[in-house]
Structure formats: structure tokens, C-alpha cells
Amino acid sequence: MRVALRGVFRCGVLLCSITLAACGGGGGGEAPRPQARTVTVAWDANRETGVNSAGGGYEVSITGQPPIDVPYVSGAAAPTSVARFLQAGTYLVTVRAYAALDPQGGTTRTFSTPSQLVVVVQ
């Protein structure tokens, strides 16, 4: 089955949404049918050294999914994207940055506040 994607991306001050739908290619008035898709979530790199060094990284939250850890591995910066195969549905996506620094001087992981929310509707 050929699938055509229609995408609408809306972004407000506090919330962005990407609306996705799959269309059957056979004609004859077949109703659009949601399909599972790979969604790539990306964000701009943080500038904190703690995020972009050992013990740092990001945590991506997608509703209904376990948190996705995106740790710093090597190089100048931690990765800033992650891909997940998602079933049809509506998903709220946020990302937090973290570092192995805490206000008491220890190495307990400290998180940022969540990023702006993105809503994915499939």
C-alpha cells in the first residue's frame, strides 16, 4: 500500500504540535488509516559543560513510553536527537537535560526543567 503523509506543524509559545495522518492509496473513498511511524525527536544542544560531558545528557519523555536516556558518549556534545517507532496515537514529547552535578557539590544527576512541549498526533 502506498502511503502519503500529510503533516501540519503548529507551534505556539508553550506548545508545538505535529499532526500526522496516513492515507490509503487505493481511492474509492477509503478512510485514512493511521500507521505506525518512526518519529525523530531533535532539539538544540545545551551549552552546559556538564550536559556535554561524562555523566551528562538528555532524557526524552514520550507519553506512554519509558523515558529515553540520551547520554553523552564522546566528542564535543551529547547527542541531540533520538528516533522511536510509535504506534498510532497522540503523544506528548518533552526533553530534559541533565548533568552529574548537584547544588550540594555531589554527583547526583540534576535535571533541567522540561523543554517546550511537542504534541505528536498520528
Partner: protein, 605 residues
């Protein structure tokens, strides 16, 4: 520079005994290994455990590790302890438990984390309550209280475990200059190259020598970046720094828009990324604002003092530059040793950003001052040379307090002076060699238009109104006793100073009363420290922190620095409703502060 001092590592023996005392329950014993609950998560390596195998063949040990999905990282020594990397996604507690019951394992434990806790060896470090408050009494303090609450400080020691060296960030101190030869600053001055061999420049005298003739700028600079851990004096927020000295305030502590604007633009164009300005005035200043815009456009953080008038800066008459709204500006109020707002400190829910230590702050100064006073003792004989009459010592109540004054007329303030008067009083003082000589006194006056009190000095003595140098001339009403300072460094000893009441033919008034007369002489030296109060002292704590943050996070913008200082500070009740953040500067919290990721987007493949 050397490194540590408060060492846990007095050798491995101490470390080992610490393990036994603090974590005795986690070292497991034969014959049956017990996995214990993992300790606090910050105290061990998250993906490692240490396993002590019984004497077994190497391949058996490797097998025991591999079957758990672990890998051997290293053998620690011949005792049998091995450092092992755990399976991805497995907690340390789970890893410890997995070895439970294994007959080849004698003991297993987390790989604990030990950190050196940095504090410098500078002998006066114990007096720097703003950096480390243990409730100590500041012996040289003049602001009550002189002792306070342990922990009410900027939490810098924890931050020093991560960074002490800010030398990648040039910090411009726009002030009265800096004694760049001071023992605790010389090593941390900006290298201006052949163009600026004295570590900055001077916009007061128009030369390249920013030597501090007031003492204020040196104090500020050393709070930012006195050389740390050099067994000398104090330490700055940054142990290693690059301080650019830009002199805009003269020996009396006074400067102009022109000098400040030049200095800001100089700092920006010569690579400074942090500017401290512990100075203020009472008016919006477009040229000043434009200079701050230039700093912002060049990603420079500007830290300023809130002011010392116990005034709400949000109101008309609030102090500038604190009151400017530039996003790269951080305005700082002063806190005392209990983290209460200092009684003198300005504040402002929309204009002042954070608080920082600003009372009883010990730091380097430019030298020592010697003082010559004249107490105008009303019980004594007038020992000023007079001509034309009119002058006398008087014992008065001014501002509610008894004060001895040099007065004109002799009945001041109940009588009136004479018309067509030319009445002079002068005195000659023997001065020693000095870097700067300042004349100060307080004055109350009520003079009709056309009537003046004039102030002159003259080198080599004699009547200063005959061939002397005019310093000032006032008329009108002072509205009370007001202080005045003058730089008379050019007056060669013996130096005469004089007052002249010069009146016209119409109208008379109460006249003048002069009190608290003093001549202060500065001798520069490189070993003096002093204790000051003021938002001027609070600001450099934050400027030092800004440099520390930029040094630790080289990619930081001014926005990141401001966010980390304001949002990463410590909430302090005394600052709630008095500042934009309600927080005091907290170095470690700011270092650990993380901005939320931005520009999140999702795309389909």
C-alpha cells in the same frame, strides 16, 4: 598553582579506614556474599561494582563476570578486588545482588566516589565569611552583626571542587583602578601586552596607568580574583583570574559618564566577558545605556551594585546603572552575615536581581592612609590664620548631635554674616610623601545669591587666596550637614588650605559651619587588607561567579550566565519581594543549574 588542602587523601590508609567506618555494612564477608542496599546514589559510580573473588583461576573469574553480562575493567591489586562494569540498564543494587550466593565471590561492594574538598591555604581565608560562613566573628568588622549563621555564604567550596581557574575569562573592573602590584593580585592581572603594560588603562588621567588611588577598586578586584591558595592574604572567588583594571573613579571615588562609557567600550573591544561596576548615580544616562547595549551585543555580562541608600530602586530616584533593564545586567544587593538584607542596601522587586555578601568583607586594598585632623575644638583658641574677621570656633548641635565647627559668622547659625565681606581663614599643614592627598570635611551653609564660600589651597603655604588654586565655591542652602571630598594631591608641602566668605552688598543669611576637617594621605603598599561594607562589595562576589561560570561553561552566553546566577541562586526570605529572583548568589547551585533544552521538534520518517 598548587591544588588541594583539605585532603581526604592523607594517603590510602585514611581512605581505607574511612571505608570501614562509614560503609562497614557494605563490605561483605565470606562465606556467603550479601548484597546490601546501595548507598546514596551520589556516593558511588553508577555502572560499576567492586568484586573480591576467592582465589580461583582467571578463566573462572572471567566466566563468573561474563555470565552476568558484566565486564572486567581492572584488577585493583593482588588482594583479589576487581573493578567490574555492570550490564547496561542494571542498577548497582541489582548488580550487587547478582553476586549473592556465588561461592567464588568473597565480597562485593559499590565503587564509592571520594572527592577532594577544596579550600585554599590563604591565611585570612577564615575571615571571608562570604565564601565560607562558619559563624566566625570578623574581627575587623564594623557592621553589626560581626558574626552570623553558618552556611550563609555563596557555597563556593563545592564549586571549587570543579573549577578554580577563571583565567579563560577576562574580568574588567571599572572602578577607581587596581593596585596591580598587590601581593595577592599581581599574578592575576590581565596581560595587556605592550599597549597596556600596566594591566588596563586610566580614563581619569588619560594615561595607561590604572593605579588605584582610592582603595575601592583594589578591594573589589581582590574579591573577584585575589590569587587563591598561595598562602598569602585572602582568596578571590576565582583563584586564578585575569583582571583588567579600568580607572574611571578618581582618588575621591568620583567619576563621569564619559569615563565610564569609554571604559565599558574598552573592556568590550579588548576581550572582557565580565564587567564589574560597583558604582552608581541617580539619573538615567543614555550614553551609559548605549555602552551597556554594546556590551550586550558583544555577549558581555555586566554586574553592578544596587546602591547604599536603603532605597527602593524601583521608585523614581533609584540608582543607575542598577536600574537599567539590559538583559546582560545583573544588579546585586548586599546581605549580612545572617543573610539578612544589609540595612544600607538598596533593593527593588523589578530592578535588583540577587543578593550577595556585602558586610564586613575583607579584601586587599591599595595601601595605608594617614590622617591629619582639625577638630575645631571650641575650648581652644582659633588656630587658623584669618583676615577680615568673621570666623570662630563654635560648639553647635547640627543634625541632632553636638559638633565643633569652624563658623562664619561667629554667631552661626543664629546670626547673620556681613555684606561686602572678604573674610578668610586658612591653615598650613606639613604633608609627607604620598600617592594621593585628600581633603574632606562636612559643611552646612545658608548663603544668599551672590554670596559665596570659596575653598582654595596653595603649595608651600601662605594665603591660598593669594596665588593659590581654587577647589570649589558654593552658594545657596545645603539643607543640613553634607560631606565633601577634594583631591589636593598637587598641593606641595607645606600645604595651606583656606575658606573665604565672599559676599556682595545685598542680602545676608546664616552663613557657614564647617566640621570634621581631615587631610588623608595615601601610601601605596602591596600587603594591606581591609574590611569594607557596601553593595560595592556584594557585586564582585557575583562578578567572580559569572567568570567562574563562563570558565566552566565556555559556550555560555550572557543569557546563560544570567539564568544560572538568578535561577540557580539560593532562595533567601530577606530577598523575597526585594529582588527579581528572591535569591542569593550560590556558586555550586549555579554551576549545577541547567537550562531547559530549546527548539524541540519532531519529524516523521
Amino acid at each position: 598553582m598548587s591544588t588541594l588542602r583539605r585532603l581526604l587523601a592523607v594517603g590510602a590508609v585514611f581512605v581505607a579506614s574511612f571505608v570501614l567506618v562509614e560503609h562497614a555494612g557494605t563490605v561483605l564477608s565470606a562465606p556467603r556474599p550479601r548484597a546490601t542496599p546501595a548507598p546514596a546514589p551520589e556516593s558511588f559510580v553508577k555502572d560499576q561494582v567492586l568484586v573480591k573473588f576467592r582465589p580461583i583461576q582467571s578463566e573462572h573469574r572471567l566466566s563468573a563476570v561474563a555470565v552476568r553480562g558484566h565486564t572486567v575493567l581492572a584488577d585493583l591489586d593482588r588482594s583479589g578486588w576487581t573493578r567490574i562494569n555492570t550490564r547496561a540498564g542494571q542498577t548497582v543494587a541489582e548488580a550487587l545482588a547478582s553476586y549473592q550466593g556465588d561461592p567464588s565471590v568473597e565480597a562485593v561492594q559499590p565503587n564509592y566516589v571520594y572527592r577532594a574538598l577544596l579550600a585554599p591555604n590563604d591565611p585570612s581565608y577564615g575571615q571571608l565569611w562570604g565564601l565560607k560562613n562558619i559563624g566566625q566573628t570578623i574581627g575587623t568588622g564594623s557592621y553589626a552583626p560581626t558574626s552570623g549563621t553558618a552556611g550563609a555564604d555563596i557555597n563556593i567550596e563545592n564549586a571549587w571542587d570543579h573549577i578554580t581557574d577563571c583565567s579563560s575569562v577576562v574580568v574588567a573592573v571599572i572602578d577607581s583602578g587596581v593596585n596591580y602590584n598587590h601581593e595577592d593580585l599581581a599574578g592575576n592581572m590581565w596581560d595587556g601586552g605592550p599597549g597596556f603594560p600596566l594591566h588596563g588603562t586610566d580614563f581619569v588621567s588619560g594615561d595607561d596607568d590604572p593605579m588605584d588611588l582610592a582603595g575601592h577598586g583594589t578591594h573589589v578586584a581582590a574579591t573577584i580574583g585575589a590569587v587563591g591558595n598561595n598562602a598569602t592574604g585572602t582568596t578571590g572567588v576565582c583563584w586564578v583570574a585575569r583582571i583588567m583594571a579600568l580607572r574611571v573613579l578618581d582618588a575621591t571615588g568620583s567619576g563621569t559618564t564619559a569615563g565610564i562609557v569609554q571604559a565599558v567600550n574598552f573592556a568590550v573591544s579588548h576581550g572582557a566577558k565580565v564587567i564589574n561596576m560597583s558604582l552608581g548615580g541617580g539619573s538615567f544616562d543614555q550614553a551609559f545605556s548605549d555602552a551597556l547595549n554594546n556590551a550586550r551585543a558583544n555577549d558581555v555580562v555586566v554586574v553592578v551594585a544596587a546602591g547604599n541608600s536603603a532605597f527602593d530602586n524601583d521608585l523614581p530616584g533609584g540608582a543607575y546603572p542598577c536600574k537599567f533593564t539590559h538583559a546582560n545586567l545583573i544588579c546585586v544587593a548586599a546581605l549580612d552575615q545572617n543573610f539578612s538584607l544589609a540595612t544600607f542596601s538598596n533593593y527593588g522587586a523589578t530592578s535588583v536581581d540577587v543578593g550577595a555578601p556585602g558586610t564586613n568583607v575583607l579584601s586587599a586594598v591599595n595601601g595605608t592612609w594617614s590622617t591629619i585632623t582639625d577638630n575645631f575644638n571650641s575650648g581652644g583658641t582659633l588656630n587658623w590664620t584669618t583676615s577680615g574677621g568673621g570666623w570662630a570656633y563654635r560648639a553647635l548641635s547640627l543634625g541632632g548631635s553636638p559638633v565643633d565647627v569652624l563658623a562664619n559668622p561667629t554667631t552661626f547659625p543664629s546670626g547673620t554674616y556681613s555684606n561686602n565681606a572678604n573674610q578668610r581663614a586658612f591653615k598650613t599643614f606639613t604633608l609627607g610623601p604620598s600617592a594621593a592627598t585628600l581633603l574632606s570635611f562636612s559643611i552646612q551653609f545658608a548663603l544668599q545669591p551672590g554670596d559665596f564660600l570659596k575653598l582654595n589651597y596653595r603649595s608651600s603655604g601662605g594665603d591660598p587666596f593669594a596665588g593659590g588654586v581654587a577647589l570649589d565655591s558654593v552658594t545657596g542652602f545645603s539643607g543640613g550637614l553634607v560631606g565633601s571630598d577634594y583631591d589636593i594631591s598637587a598641593c606641595a608641602s607645606p600645604c595651606s588650605v583656606g575658606f573665604q566668605l565672599s559676599t556682595n552688598a545685598s542680602g545676608v543669611d546664616q552663613g557657614v559651619g564647617i566640621a570634621f576637617f581631615a587631610i588623608d594621605q595615601l601610601t601605596l603598599n602591596n600587603t594591606t587588607y581591609d574590611t569594607f561594607n557596601g553593595t560595592s562589595m556584594a557585586s564582585p562576589h557575583v562578578a567572580g561567579l559569572a567568570a567562574l561560570l563562563r570558565a566552566y561553561n565556555p559556550q555560555f552566553t550572557y543569557v546563560d550566565v544570567a539564568n544560572a546566577i538568578k535561577n540557580g541562586g539560593r532562595s533567601v526570605p530577606a530577598l523575597a519581594g526585594k529582588t527579581t529572583s528572591g535569591r542569593a548568589a550560590d556558586a555550586m547551585s549555579s554551576l549545577a543549574y541547567i537550562n531547559a533544552p530549546t527548539a524541540l521538534r519532531a519529524t516523521l520518517q
